[in-house]
Amino acid sequence: MNDNELITMVRESVADVHTVTPVAQVISRGRAVRARRRIPGVAGTLAVAAGTALAVTTLLPSGHQGLLGSGHPGRHPASAQLAAWTVARQVNGDIDVTIHQLQDPAGLQRTLRADGLPVTVSFSGSPLSASCQPYDTGRDILSAVAHFHTSDGSAYLVINPSALPSGTGVSIFDEPGARVPLPSPHTPRHGQGSGSTAPAGITGPLAVALVYASQQCTG
């Protein structure tokens, strides 16, 4: 099979697919898009409402990097603990991540990868680097891989690596710009982080998603 035959085959494989949406419907939708752009406040308000209603977001103050603390007793020896976040591998294989401050994403990424998790971590508001490709999946799979809860201004993330679909990894990132009302400054429970510092440069909700695993993206 030469290149031309292969190209023809690929083209013909989808040749019967046609749009069915009338152009009038597209234009109507386009008008709505245009109108929405004229009221920027509306989008912002909706983002705040969604963030609040879903109760999945946490706003973590951006302060200085916390100092090293001691590991949790009785946990995996590879567990690491910083004022900004802690990582602990449980006996059932789950990885518990506690995030007090959105600091040192490279350190968190390194620690999680050392525990065998294909992961990319970004607290810079850019969820996907050019080397990462999103893996679009149903929420049931995503929920099996990871779930959040929040308490006392910290985010608790439990990751089950064994539930990851083959060839995928985890992306942990923040969502800046949501402009959710800021919580009171949070003081980390571990170490001596500067959580009492005014949260200048506050970031938005913390989020997790799946990506295609690759050396460049997830290590």
């Binding site: 099979m1 290149d3 292969l6 190209i7 085959m9 690929v10 083209r11 013909e12 494989s13 989808v14 040749a15 019967d16 697919v17 046609h18 749009t19 069915v20 949406t21 152009v23 419907q25 597209v26 234009i27 939708r29 386009g30 008008r31 709505a32 898009v33 245009r34 752009r37 969604a50 879903l54 109760a55 999945v56 977001t57 969820p127 996907l128 050019a130 490709q133 999103p134 893996y135 679009d136 149903g138 929420r139 049931d140 995503l142 929920s143 990871a146 779930h147 959040f148 809860h149 992306s171 969502e175 909700p205 989020a207 997790v208 998603a209 799946l210 295609y212 690759s214």
Partner: protein, 172 residues
Amino acid sequence: MGVGNQQLDFAEFYRSAADECLRAVLVSVGDQDTARELVDEAFARAWASWRTVSRHPAPEAWVVRTALNAGISRWRRRRREVPVPDPARLANPPAVSGASARLVDPLIMAAVMRLPARQRQVIALRLILDLDTARTAEVLGIAPGTVMAHLGRAMAALRHDLEPELQQENRS
């Protein structure tokens, strides 16, 4: 250009480019319903910015890029829903109807979907939308050499996947 003329201009563009854009996005995302939603949204945005898009050197590439970006945005929205398991909304998604599934060649589509996402995007833009290497590189934000490398790897993988199956089909 008046609004009436703009509508005619856009409608002509939609009629001429919509099918190709849909096929390109389909090859990239693999699911017809998703591809249709993304392309509809991208064309709506194209109309919302038609003064700009109509002057784009390759407006169909703009639409496909916008559709793929919308897919990423959708992915980003979806991930926020992780911690809120809502049994009512976690029901199985509707299955692709038989008629819809028959529109694509399942053997070839399966082989395409086994490619990495970036290679699928290159296939979509280079082979389905028929963009040249430079335009494909611009749309994807990568170097032309990288486009050629991805295309070469994708073609090799497809050939490797499809040839044995086609030979078997021919024998039977």
